[in-house]
C-alpha cells in the first residue's frame, strides 16, 4: 500500500467527496489559493473553483452561521477553522444553532455540516494557538466528534463525516500533517463509533485519542521490553464512543490508563474513565488513571511547554505504577 501524509489524506477525502456530490463546498479563511496555512487544501480550488472553495473574511461566527444555514437548505458545507482555538469564537453558531436544530425542530430540519479544525501543543505557538478543545464540543448533545490518529483515519473519517447528516467536528493533530501512513488507493470509509485496537496486549489497556495514540504506542514498546504487555486502543470518534470495545479490553486487562491531549480536568479522560468504572468495576485491579494536558494555559517557552503534554515515558511510568499495585493503596 502507498504511504501518504495526513495532509494529503484529508485533501483526497475532500476531493473525492466533492466529485461525488456537487452540494459539498469548503468555506474558511485562506482555503482557496493559499490552501490554508498548513497547505492541506492545495489544489482544490483549481479543480472545484471559487464557488465551492470559498475564501472568507476573518469572520468566524459569520461564516460558521452561514454554513449552518446552507446546511439546512440542501448544501453540505465543510467549514475550515484555521486553529482549534478559534472554536471559542463560533460557539453560539455551533452549539446553540447547529447542534440543536434537528432536535428543536422535532426532526424536521437537519444540519449536515462538517467543521474541520485542529488540536495539539508543542509547536511553540503559545496559549491561543495550541489548545485541544474537543471536550468542549463533545459535551454538547447533537454534535459528533471525530479524532483521526493517522492519515488512514483522517481520510476514512472525513468521508464518513461529509456523508453524515449531523454536524460533525473533526479535530486533526496539526503536528501530524506531514506524517505518512499507509492509505489504500481504493475508496474506503471508516464508520463512526468503531474503535481501533492498534496493538493487542494482556496486562494493561492504554486508551488514546488523536495525538496520544503514537505516544501510547511508544509507551507500549517501552513496556514490552520490561515484560509488560500493553493494549493500545484508539476510539477514533469520541461521539459516538465505542464503549463496548473499551469495556471489553478493560475487563480483559483489568488495568486502564486513558490518555488525551485535552486538559485533564473535566475532560475526555474523565468521561471514559467514568464509563469504565461504571461498567467494568468488578474486573478492575486498579483505579482507572487519567492523563491529559496539564491544567494550565499552554506556555510559550519550550522549557515549560514540553512538560504540559503526556509523553511515552510518563505513560510508561504510570503503567508501571498500576502494575505494581501501588495505586490501589494510593486510591
Amino acid at each position: 500500500m502507498r504511504n501518504i501524509t495526513l495532509s494529503q489524506a484529508v485533501n483526497e477525502a475532500l476531493a473525492e467527496e466533492m466529485r461525488r456530490d456537487d452540494s459539498v463546498f469548503i468555506i474558511g479563511e485562506d482555503v482557496a489559493e493559499a490552501g490554508t496555512p498548513f497547505k492541506v487544501l492545495s489544489g482544490l480550488v483549481e479543480e472545484f473553483g471559487t464557488q465551492r472553495v470559498v475564501d472568507t473574511p476573518i469572520a468566524e461566527p459569520g461564516f460558521m452561521g452561514l454554513a449552518v444555514g446552507a446546511a439546512m437548505t440542501g448544501s453540505r458545507p465543510v467549514v475550515d477553522l484555521m486553529f482549534g482555538d478559534f472554536i471559542f469564537l463560533i460557539m453560539d453558531q455551533l452549539c446553540n444553532q447547529a447542534a440543536k436544530t434537528h432536535y428543536m425542530s422535532g426532526g424536521k430540519l437537519s444540519v449536515p455540516l462538517v467543521l474541520r479544525t485542529n488540536l495539539g501543543a508543542t509547536r511553540r505557538s503559545a496559549a491561543q494557538h495550541s489548545q485541544s478543545l474537543h471536550a468542549l464540543v463533545a459535551h454538547i448533545p447533537g454534535l459528533k466528534v471525530a479524532m483521526p490518529s493517522s492519515a488512514y483515519e483522517a481520510k476514512g473519517l472525513m468521508k464518513t463525516a461529509i456523508r453524515d447528516n449531523n454536524p460533525v467536528v473533526i479535530f486533526e493533530d496539526k503536528l501530524m500533517y506531514n506524517d505518512k501512513a499507509p492509505v489504500p488507493e481504493e475508496e474506503f470509509l471508516i464508520p463512526f463509533g468503531q474503535a481501533n485496537i492498534k496493538r493487542e496486549g494482556s496486562d494493561i489497556t492504554l486508551i488514546a485519542t488523536s495525538s496520544m495514540v503514537q505516544v501510547c504506542e511508544k509507551a507500549a514498546e517501552i513496556l514490552e521490553q520490561e515484560g509488560i504487555s500493553a493494549e493500545v486502543i484508539d476510539p477514533r470518534t469520541i461521539v459516538p464512543l465505542d464503549e463496548k470495545t473499551l469495556i471489553e479490553s478493560a475487563k480483559k486487562t483489568s488495568r486502564v490508563i486513558v490518555v488525551d491531549e485535552g486538559h485533564q480536568s473535566y475532560g475526555i479522560t474523565g468521561e471514559i474513565a467514568g464509563r469504565i468504572n461504571e461498567k467494568a468495576f468488578y474486573h478492575l485491579d486498579a483505579p482507572v488513571l487519567r492523563m491529559g494536558a496539564m491544567d494550565v494555559p499552554v506556555p510559550f517557552s519550550p522549557a515549560l511547554e514540553d512538560i504540559t503534554v503526556p509523553t511515552p515515558e510518563a505513560v510508561a511510568a504510570n503503567a508501571r505504577l498500576l502494575m505494581s499495585g501501588e495505586m490501589i493503596h494510593a486510591a
Binding site: 475564501d55 473574511p57 476573518i58 469564537l89 519550550p302 515549560l304 504540559t308
Partner: protein, 329 residues
C-alpha cells in the same frame, strides 16, 4: 524650530530604527533556528506605531496584535526583555509564558499583543471605559489590521464607545493584506465608513509619513482627553516581510515589484531621515552614528537573551490564578 521639537523628531526617528533593527534581529533568529515558533514582522509599518505612540504618555494604554513588536517598542519597551520573551526566557516581559504573540509590557501601558485577530478590540474599549469610570484622562489606542475589520466584535464595541463617548482611538493598520489575501477581496466598501456609521469621526492617512501620523494623533489624543472620543484612523501602510517569517514564497499573492516599490519609494524611515537632514535637525553622520548605536544595542540584547536562563519548570503552574501560587500543588 524649537529645541524640544528637534528632540521629539530625533526620538521618533530613533524609535522607528529601533523597531526595524529589532525585527531584522528577530528574523535572523528565526532563520538561524534559534527562535522557537514563528513571528510576524512589523518592518515597513514603523511610522504607524511610532507616530501614534509618540502622542501618548506612559499611563495611556495600547492594545496590540500578532504583529506586535513595533507597538511594544514604540510604547517604550526594552530590547533585552523583548528578546528574552521571544526566546522563552525567564527574564522576558512575560517570563517566557507569552512569546512573540503575547508580549505585554504593563509598566509602559501595553496591555498585550493578541493572537486572536480582533481579540483586543474589547480590551482597548474596556481600558477607555475604565479610564472614564476612574476619573483619569488616559486614552486607549486599539491597534488592529485591515483583516480584523471583518470581526463582529469591532462593531459591537464601536457602538458602545460612540454611545458612551469613550476615550479610545481605533487604529486600523491597513497593510493591504490579511495573511495571503488582498484587503479588497475581504473587505466590502469603505473601512472608515464603518466607523462613521456609528457617528465616529474617521480619518484615512498615509501611514508611511510619521509626521502626519503624529500630528493627527496628537490632536485626537487631546480631544479624547477632553471627552470628545472615540476616533477611528485608517493608516495606509505595508508589511515588507511575509505574513510571518516562514512566508517566504509569496509571489502567488503579491508581486516582487509591488514589494520593491513600497520599500524603495515609500519607506517611512528613509523618508523621515531625508527630511531630518533637509531641515538641518541631524546630519548624515549623526544619523549613521545613531543607527550604529541601535544596532549594537540590539546585538547585545540578542546575545544576552540567547545566554539567558529558561524559566524553572516549577513556574509552569504559576500565574494561573492571582491568589494561588501553584495551581497544581
Amino acid at each position: 524650530m524649537t529645541k524640544t521639537n528637534a528632540e521629539d523628531y530625533l526620538r521618533m526617528y530613533r524609535q522607528m530604527v529601533r523597531i526595524r533593527t529589532f525585527e531584522d534581529n528577530a528574523n535572523q533568529l528565526y532563520l538561524s533556528a534559534k527562535m522557537p515558533g514563528l513571528t510576524h514582522m512589523y518592518s515597513g509599518e514603523e511610522a504607524v506605531a511610532v507616530g501614534i505612540c509618540e502622542a501618548l504618555r506612559t499611563s495611556d494604554k495600547i492594545t496590540s496584535t500578532h504583529r506586535g513588536h513595533g507597538h511594544c517598542v514604540a510604547k517604550g519597551a526594552d530590547f533585552k526583555e523583548m528578546f528574552c520573551e521571544l526566546l522563552g526566557k525567564e527574564e522576558g516581559y512575560c517570563r517566557g509564558k507569552g512569546g512573540s504573540m503575547h508580549i505585554a509590557d504593563q509598566s509602559n501601558g501595553n496591555l498585550g499583543a493578541n493572537a486572536i485577530v480582533g481579540g483586543s478590540m474589547g480590551i482597548a474599549t474596556g481600558a477607555a471605559f475604565s479610564a472614564k469610570l476612574l476619573g483619569k484622562d488616559d486614552v486607549a489606542v486599539c491597534f488592529f489590521g485591515d483583516g480584523a475589520t471583518a470581526q463582529g466584535l469591532m462593531y459591537e464595541v464601536m457602538n458602545m464607545a460612540a454611545l458612551w463617548k469613550l476615550p479610545v482611538i481605533y487604529a486600523c493598520e491597513n497593510n493591504g493584506y490579511s495573511e495571503y489575501t488582498r484587503t479588497d477581496e475581504i473587505a466590502a466598501g469603505s473601512i472608515t465608513a464603518r466607523a462613521e456609521a456609528f457617528g465616529i469621526e474617521a480619518f484615512q492617512i498615509d501611514g508611511q509619513d510619521v509626521l502626519a501620523v503624529n500630528e493627527l494623533s496628537q490632536k485626537l489624543v487631546e480631544r479624547c482627553r477632553k471627552g470628545e472620543g472615540p476616533f477611528f484612523i485608517e493608516l495606509m501602510t505595508y508589511r515588507y516581510h511575509g505574513h510571518h517569517v516562514g512566508d517566504i514564497n509569496r509571489e502567488y499573492y503579491r508581486s516582487k515589484e509591488e514589494e520593491k516599490d513600497w520599500r524603495e519609494n515609500r519607506d517611512p524611515i528613509t523618508r523621515f531621515r531625508a527630511w531630518l537632514v533637509k531641515e538641518g535637525i541631524a546630519s548624515e553622520d549623526e544619523i549613521e552614528a545613531m543607527n550604529a548605536a541601535i544596532k549594537d544595542d540590539a546585538s547585545a540584547a540578542v546575545e544576552y537573551a540567547l545566554a539567558a536562563k529558561y524559566p524553572d519548570v516549577s513556574e509552569v503552574d504559576m500565574h494561573v490564578f492571582t491568589d494561588v501560587e501553584h495551581a497544581l500543588a
